[in-house]
């Protein structure tokens, strides 16, 4: 039996909104008789200062240990009244609202007596519930300081800088030997035509030299476990076999036998998207950060052919080569994680009609970006890989691998957003460099939707770029050149466009990070990108508290949007980390250890990875930093061990009974 309670009920007139319909006096008189109710009073405006003072006075004087305020929807003043009750010395979570305005007087204003009757029922229901409430403490939990940013593209770099400048300790983890990501490989950025490296390298240097950013390159997150207020990451740093003594003289790369004419092994340069070969010991690109050479053990003769070849070690003046380096394992504890793993370019080989992979002169936009780079493989001119001749006629094809059929495993159904502007950018860069080059862009819908995009698109027309509305039927060979069959909707003519080079605007697809996402318990949306908490209202957080997403990892976007999203993700992370403490929502699940049979049913239904069975104790433990209080677990738990505070079975059953026609006193 619950012990003797001193409950107070405060009925609000709401200036007539309630009292014009509900006979407040009758409700008060019926409630007074209820067991445990030591006070039932009413007032014109409970939410006014005077109303609040009355509430506090009664709580203090009568030592009330439970209050029901019958007024408007709890969404309006529940917090206010609870705060006032706390100031008066009563535990705020012993106060409940009875909604007798929106859900009573407003809705039944033509049936005054029925509304009064209903008001009695609603108040009685809440009184019975309050009788079963327990006081709750609002706890706080420490949050591990520090943020891990996974992926050092423009998004990861920007988020890291903002957080570090805010004073947070950031660990920036990058899989490839250098930071910079895809942006560093694009020659210029639309629509401003800024040189990509000029805008990016200052940020790269700032990240590299920032005392609060710990840069971990050539490293992958092997495992990421979440525990209350903390993420424990296991990072494996692959060995570069080159020590810090390296002075960057490049002799090792010059002498390395791999990918030379006679070499049995040759490696396509990832940086140049396969246009050139690279040695086993290499620096991805001149402004790479950190400025450290790396030995690719998969292709290096020393590792692959019995350790005989030591050419690089012999020629190295700084003796910086060390074949004995081992992978390093780094254990990292952080409060928040930002996933900024970016995108990779779609491989158009499955689309046989375009001939990528079969015809050497069929390229992708990223390969053309590398060609347009003055330091790139072709020193800035787009030329035919078959014979190196500069291309006089270039045909670009849009939507390659994007806007595909639903459920088609070979292509993506989404639009990759940026390829139209990339094509316009490359087309006008080519026209500026070699004006008499013929450039055609074959498109379905040219999507120049952003700020300055239309002007950029129209400017390219002024430079003589030709736009053909229609995707091609086939790219075929005609002697040394290619021939593109396309029907142009604008002129209604069927064209056969001779082309030295055909450029496919290939889709953006997510970088393969399935293991990382699995260990972070993140799911992906149908298009394969990281699933944000809510596509419209919350695109930077994820379902896992403390994990944020930024940049192309969450979906195709251009550099501008990546930076804005990185800023938002950084701010969300900063807010989440707060002052190192996290106030916990008290209305979450808790486990009665005596009843728990460790059957895992709660764990199976929990969407927020918030409950786990402790292997030693064999009792389910709720991680109050992750639990959202939805209560799914309470329904599947066979013994009723787990319940959500203030929504326990006894409390809900009490209000059902109180409101039921055959009211049975508890």
């Amino acid at each position: 039996m619950t012990e003797k309670r001193k409950l107070g009920v405060f009925l609000c007139h709401c200036g007539g909104n309630i009292s014009d319909v509900v006979d407040v006096k009758a409700v008060r008189e019926s409630i007074e008789k209820q067991d445990g109710v030591v006070l039932a009073t009413d007032f014109r405006f409970m939410c006014s200062n005077e109303g609040q003072e009355r509430l506090q006075k009664e709580i203090r004087e009568r030592g009330l240990d439970g209050v029901v305020v019958a007024c408007c929807t709890p969404k309006m003043y529940e917090d206010l009244f609870r705060q006032k009750a706390e100031e008066a010395g009563m535990n705020p979570y012993l106060l409940e609202i009875a909604n007798i305005r929106e859900q009573c007087s407003y809705a039944h204003r033509f049936e005054k007596d029925k509304a009064t009757e209903k008001a009695k029922v609603l108040v009685r229901g809440q009184v019975e519930k309050v009788r079963h409430l327990k006081p709750l403490e609002v706890k706080t939990a420490p949050i591990q300081p520090g943020v891990a940013v996974i992926g050092a593209g423009i998004a990861g770099i920007h988020a890291s800088l903002l957080l570090a400048n805010l004073g947070h300790k950031v660990t920036l983890i990058e899989k490839s030997p250098t930071i910079g990501g895809n942006m560093a490989r694009t020659v210029k950025t639309f629509p401003t035509d800024d040189c990509a490296m000029c805008t990016l390298s200052p940020k790269m240097n700032e990240v590299y030299n920032h005392e609060r950013i710990d840069l971990v390159t050539y490293a992958e997150v092997k495992e990421a476990k979440r525990s209350p207020g903390k993420f424990t990451l296991v990072v494996e740093k692959k060995p570069r076999y080159v020590t810090d003594a390296c002075i960057g003289c490049n002799r090792c790369t010059e002498k390395c036998p791999v990918s030379t004419a006679k070499s049995p092994v040759s490696v396509e340069s990832e940086w140049d998207q396969g246009l050139t070969k690279r040695k086993a010991i290499y620096l991805p690109f001149p402004q790479a950060l950190p400025q450290l050479w790396t030995i690719d053990a998969d292709h290096c003769f020393y590792f692959q052919r019995g350790g005989k070849c030591r050419v690089c070690a012999m020629v190295c003046p700084a003796k910086a080569i060390d074949f004995t380096m081992k992978p390093e394992r780094l254990d990292l504890e952080v409060g928040a994680v930002i996933v900024a793993t970016g995108y990779q370019e779609y491989d158009p080989t499955p689309l046989r009609l375009y001939g990528f992979g079969r015809e050497p002169n069929v390229l992708t936009q990223m390969q053309v970006a590398r060609m347009l780079d003055s330091m790139g493989p072709t020193k800035g001119t787009v030329s035919r890989p078959s014979d190196g001749r500069a291309a006089d006629s270039i045909v670009m094809v849009q939507c390659v691998g994007s806007r595909g059929a639903p459920g088609d495993p070979l292509t993506h159904e989404y639009c990759s957003r940026v390829c139209c502007m990339v094509a316009v950018k490359h087309a006008q860069l080519i026209k500026k460099a070699r004006p008499d080059t013929e450039v055609y862009v074959l498109y379905n819908d040219l999507r120049a939707y952003g700020k300055g995009f239309e002007e950029y698109y129209v400017h390219s027309m002024e430079l003589g770029v030709k736009y053909v509305r229609g995707l091609p039927g086939k790219v075929r060979k005609e002697g040394a050149r290619l021939l593109v069959d396309v029907d142009d909707m604008l002129t209604g003519r069927r064209l056969e466009i001779p082309a030295d080079v055909v450029v496919l605007s290939a889709a953006m697809e997510p970088t393969p990070v399935d293991d990382l996402l699995k260990s972070l318990k993140l799911d992906t949306s149908p298009d394969g990108f990281v699933k944000e908490y809510h596509a419209k209202i919350n695109p930077t957080e994820t379902a896992v508290k403390g994990v944020f997403v930024a940049g192309c990892a969450q979906g195709p976007k251009d550099i501008t949007d990546s930076i804005s999203q990185a800023g938002a993700a950084a701010m969300s992370a900063a807010v989440f980390l707060g002052g190192g403490e996290m106030t916990l929502n008290p209305l979450v699940a808790e486990v009665d250890a005596a009843l728990c049979r460790a059957c895992d049913r709660c764990m199976e239904v929990c969407e927020f990875d918030a409950v786990k069975v402790d292997p030693e104790m064999l009792i389910a433990v709720v991680d109050e930093t992750a639990c959202e209080g939805c209560g799914k677990c309470t329904v599947v738990c066979p013994t009723g061990a787990i319940s959500v505070r203030q929504f326990t079975k006894p409390q809900i059953v009490a209000s059902i009974d109180a409101m039921a026609p055959m009211a049975v006193s508890p």
């Binding site: 046989r352 009609l353 001939g355 079969r358 086939k474 075929r476 005609e478």
Partner: protein
């Protein structure tokens, strides 16, 4: 090496020589052909448009005949391969198969979906195999420039993408090489001969065929090899009218794969029906006979 033989309609009527040649080649290579005299027409797209359900039922009946013999179905025509393979794919779905079997039951037949529909080209290259074929060559094609004309349906029949790349096929070229010939490639080898609009828009068919013939001629082809009697009919019988439509005669003899293989194997040209062609094949036959190698 036993197949249910489905020659189709044109290969046993106006192009009867192709049925003759196929039987001669099969006998020569030890392939047993089980005749399906009672098999109905594959629909060739026309019946699929006029009465799709009947087309599916008739093809299911043909497939059930082959299944009854426990053998795969051999076609020698691109269009038959397309529509029989398409029906076969639809019949892999259990619900559709049950529906069709309910109809087949009226004529006490049933199809379980176990038959594979295979074209002569697949059988020659995959089941017989290049080595055995080469060993049987008595008249190597020598320095004869042979152009392949794939036509459209064989490349786009369901399941054909596993056998050959529909955009840049090379299987007929492979066959020509195995037979000792010199394959010649040209742009039009994978486009369409226009047979299916011959009675509706003959001008289109003639201009298509005419264009492709000239392209093959320009590429140096001396004879064309095609896997389909419909292309064979248009390219050979209508070559004169096609030439008029595009203003130049190609004068290219046309051989169906069965005839090309037959000649290479040393089979008597009479039995390959080359006399029935409108564009004389005699010069090709003479060139081959001079270099005939009488192997033991």
């Amino acid at each position: 090496m036993r197949y249910a033989y489905f020659p189709g309609c044109v290969a046993t009527d106006s192009c009867g020589e192709l049925d003759q040649a196929t039987r001669a080649v099969a006998a020569h290579l030890g392939i047993e052909l089980v005749d399906l005299e009672e098999a109905a027409c594959c629909g060739a797209g026309n019946l699929q448009e006029a009465n799709p359900k009947a087309a599916l039922a008739l093809n299911a009946r043909t497939l059930s005949m082959a299944e009854a013999q426990g053998v795969d179905l051999l076609t020698v025509c691109g269009t038959c391969q397309m529509y029989l393979a398409r029906a076969n794919r639809e019949l892999q779905d259990p619900a559709t198969r049950e529906k069709v079997n309910a109809v087949l039951a009226r004529v006490d037949r049933r199809y379980e979906g176990r038959v594979r529909v295979r074209h002569l080209l697949q059988v020659l290259l995959e089941d017989i195999g290049p080595r055995k074929l080469a060993a049987n060559v008595r008249r190597p094609l020598g320095d004869l420039n042979v152009g392949a004309f794939y036509g459209c349906h064989l490349l786009r029949a369901p399941g054909s993408e596993a056998f050959d790349d529909p955009e840049e096929p090379r299987r007929i070229e492979e066959l020509i090489t195995v037979l000792g010939g010199r394959p010649v490639t040209y742009g039009g080898r994978t486009s369409c001969c226009g047979f299916h609009v011959l009675t509706v828009r003959e001008d289109l068919a003639l201009r298509m065929a005419g264009g492709e013939l000239l392209e093959a001629k320009a590429a140096g082809a001396q004879v064309l090899a095609t896997p389909c009697p419909l292309c064979h009919l248009v390219l050979d019988a209508y070559q004169g009218r096609a030439g008029k439509a595009v203003g130049a005669q190609a004068g290219l003899p046309i051989l169906h794969l069965s005839q090309l293989v037959g000649l290479a194997l040393g089979i008597d040209p009479e039995r390959l029906g080359v006399k029935r062609h409108l564009v004389p094949v005699a010069p090709v036959v003479r060139a081959l006979e001079e270099r005939e190698v009488l192997r033991a």
